[in-house]
Symmetry: C2
Subunit: 136 residues, 2 copies
DNA sequence: CCAGAAAATATAAATAATTACTACTTATAA
DNA sequence: TTATAAGTAGTAATTATTTATATTTTCTGG
């Protein structure tokens, strides 16, 4: 998996990949850093950023840009959509398969060369939804 | 339009709104700043940021979060999608009306409370597409 | 029209997220 | 095993945006 990319499997890279695959929370780089420090206290934030970037470049993980100020990462590279909680920023999966017809539609109304599309949802995560009900 | 929001119509705000409505380029805050300085050399970047935020808060303009590192703004508040050029970051309009059925679909497969969805395209703008062909 | 309170401004400094630099370390191929 | 290219920790720098503050401006009601 890494061989084809002239990537070396360092201890750090290995742990980063392992931890990311273990969770389904779509962590930010800093979330990852906090998680990883427990296993590997000397790891540096720069290393976390660099590896997340390299791994997503190699399509071994996914970099998500779902809004908000921080990028998030997903160990699941299958094509699926995401919901972002507008209150706390938490990101969840939405298993809806993309409708590629929409790209044909788009091509009709733009002079851009369309590569792909993304469907993103916003809303409230269960926890924030509960809180909001309590307040109302 | 502004009255209902206890917003004052300052010279700066007026020019910001005017300029944004004049263009169809989905400028970043800094793009706006550069444009505005020509008309109003003493305007400050902070004022640009503050007003774009306030105006989008009041739904007089739209703040776009279409990926990339900077937020963009749109004087057109109608609901439509966008394409972002993966090469130069330019953003174009895609006039496809959202399919609200997809939100019902999403509700079936998540415990998040779904508010809304966004359809975003990526690709190449005509200029970058030309350049790519030239190289290939 | 005019005073005064609330809102907005310019400038500068602060913050947040990410990237770059550097000297040292390590994985891997021959 | 050793050379070398890739990677690391630590720190500094950059980029985008927000905040603090002292001053100025808008706009309301007399």
């Amino acid at each position: 998996m890494l061989e084809n990319h002239k990537l070396r499997m360092t201890k750090q890279r290995q742990v980063i990949l392992e931890e990311l695959r273990k969770v389904k929370t779509h962590p930010t780089a800093d979330d990852m850093y906090q998680m990883l420090r427990k296993k590997m206290p000397k790891i540096s934030l720069g290393t976390v950023y660099r590896n997340l970037e390299i791994l997503s470049e190699a399509n071994i993980i996914q970099k998500l840009d779902v809004g908000g100020t921080q990028k998030r990462f997903d160990g699941d590279t299958s094509i699926h959509s995401h919901v972002r909680c507008v209150d706390c920023g938490r990101v969840g999966d939405i298993d809806i398969k993309p409708n590629y017809n929409i790209e044909a539609e788009a091509r009709k109304v733009t002079d851009f060369e369309i590569y792909r599309h993304r469907l993103e949802f916003t809303g409230l995560c269960p926890e924030c939804h509960e809180k909001n009900i309590a307040v109302a």
